[in-house]
């Protein structure tokens, strides 16, 4: 199971992919807001989105799982 984790603590501002989407390495999958700044989270690998672990508005800590790839 491959997963994408948050590289810093923040609030989920936007989720740009849905379950079942095929994504590529480097693609923006999510936008976090931290310290009044928008931080795009890119996938470090390609694959099919198996599960989204967060919703818009959720607060995540550094290292928390954001989504799981098949």
């Amino acid at each position: 199971m491959k997963e994408i984790v948050a590289n810093m603590a923040g609030t989920v501002l936007n989720v740009l992919v849905a379950k079942g989407d095929e994504i590529t390495a480097g693609q923006e999958v999510l936008v976090l807001e931290s310290m009044k700044m928008e931080i795009p989270i890119e996938s470090n690998q390609g694959g099919k989105v198996a599960e989204l672990k967060v919703n818009i508005g959720d607060f995540v800590n550094e290292g928390d799982s954001l989504l799981v790839l098949e």
């Binding site: 810093m8 603590a9 501002l13 936007n14 310290m35 009044k36 700044m37 931080i39 607060f59």
Partner: protein
């Protein structure tokens, strides 16, 4: 006025407490779970926990704040900047509760908070505005047609936006097409309205603002300008007064225009009129901030006026303490916003400040929110402190600033202090020759 609740946090809460103490006014602080033990919580006479760290559960919780204000029988609420400071409903609810809101009338806040209405109001008053749409742009076709009229690049802005959020620069038709929908949906999410408008992009511009003050009697004065052109991501990093580049003639015209803008809305209390200035010194109204500005200490240093004291006086119904002819600008002041962020990428750097030793304090005012051992959390803005350097002239101010940042020792988190050292070493900055593109165009910190 004997007791004031401060609906804010960090350095600005502490700044307001300072003036209240000098005036013998009791202070009530509110704080979130993330801010326990912060300097402003300790310094206030009373402090109340209002909720978990996220702002909508704490510093934006209107009902809870008013509940505390009523229980503590405060006379007034000071909103600081950000958070609820430009929220007209908050101001109305405070008035309805029989408490004084330290700021302008709710109607003025509402009017100036809507970018399209404020543009219309200013245009009617004869204040020059940036060429652009006169009302909201509903379709992408309409936006494209307007962009064609003004020529690219253009700025696509959210009507409810501000503080550098909700605006996108579009270089081409393609860029405008792709930004249109995303800007609308973002505006809806952030500001509750998806209304957007188009403005001509003023290239090579400076961002200069004027501090104004109005009272109940309708008198309005200006407290001179602040040049805020050093920015990253449309957010200010360094501000100074006087502006190092503006001609005397334009400066005077700008101050007069700011007063005219204030008169157009019957402005009361502290406000700031922001202008964008092109290379030929044509200036245009950008927006009006209906609150105390982050960079207000720059004005305090050159005028010797305590702006918070004036705010409290006017909120009580007093007249402006000075006439325009009695307000003087002496010397030079420059403010540096010390941010917890990577100096190259500007990415946030939350964490614990393990060491913090300020440099030579001669001619330096530090409005801090954190101290050594404080934790900078990801919930709020990354500003650790404002370092305001004052000198007899700009040259002396720059020298003092350079020494101050060379001596500053801060560790545990990344800060933009190394960037200040480089800016102060830059020839163009020393000469006062800079625009809002300064940080984008210079490859400061990226040489190695």
């Amino acid at each position: 006025m004997q007791k004031i609740l401060i609906a804010n946090r960090g350095e600005i809460a502490l700044r307001i407490i300072k003036t209240c103490k000098a005036l013998g006014i009791e202070t009530v602080a509110i704080y979130s779970e993330a801010d326990e033990g912060m300097p402003f919580v300790i310094e206030a006479d009373q402090a109340f926990l209002i909720g978990p760290p996220p702002v909508n559960q704490s510093y934006l919780n209107v009902e809870k704040i008013i509940q505390i204000a009523l229980a503590e029988k405060v006379d007034a609420i000071h909103p600081g900047y950000g958070f609820l400071s430009e929220n007209a409903d908050f101001a109305r609810k405070i008035h309805a509760a029989g408490i004084i809101f330290i700021g302008p009338n709710p109607d003025t806040i509402e009017k100036m908070g809507d970018k399209i209405i404020s543009r219309q109001t200013m245009e009617k008053a004869g204040v020059p505005i940036v060429p652009g749409s006169h009302s909201g742009v509903v379709t992408v076709e309409a936006a494209l047609a307007l962009a064609e009229t003004y020529g690219y690049p253009i700025m696509l802005k959210a009507s409810g936006g501000g503080g550098g959020i909700g605006m996108v620069r579009c270089e081409t038709e393609q860029a405008l097409k792709s930004a249109f929908t995303s800007t609308k949906s973002r505006a809806k999410a952030y500001f509750g309205s998806d209304e957007v408008f188009v403005e001509k992009c003023i290239e090579g511009s400076r961002h200069i603002e004027v501090q104004i003050f109005g009272d109940d009697k309708g008198q309005i004065v200006s407290l001179f300008e602040r040049d805020c052109s050093i920015q990253r991501r449309h957010q200010k990093v360094i501000e100074e007064s006087p502006s190092p580049s503006l001609s005397m003639k334009t400066r005077e015209k700008m101050l007069e225009t700011a007063i005219k803008a204030g008169e157009a809305v019957g402005y009361k209390n502290a406000g700031t009129v922001e202008f964008i200035v092109d290379a030929d010194e044509n200036f245009y109204f950008l927006e009006m901030n209906t609150r105390l500005q982050v960079e207000h200490p720059v004005t305090e240093q050159i005028t010797g006026i305590d702006l918070v004291e004036w705010q409290i006086g006017i909120a009580k119904g007093k007249e402006l303490p000075l006439k325009q002819s009695e307000i003087k600008s002496v010397g030079h002041a420059m403010e540096f916003r010390l941010y917890a962020e990577d100096p190259v990428t500007f990415m946030p750097s939350p964490g614990t400040i393990s060491q913090l030793k300020w440099g030579n304090p001669d001619g330096v005012r530090i409005d801090y929110g954190y101290v050594e051992g404080s934790k900078v959390t990801p919930f709020y803005d990354p500003m650790i402190a404002k370092c305001i350097i004052t000198g007899e002239n700009r040259e002396e101010t720059l020298q003092k600033a350079a020494q101050f940042f060379e001596e500053l020792e801060i560790s545990g988190i990344k800060t933009n202090a190394p960037l200040f050292v480089e800016i102060l070493d830059d020839q163009d900055f020393s000469k006062g020759q800079y625009t809002t593109d300064f940080l984008k165009n210079k490859s400061l910190m990226k040489k190695q």
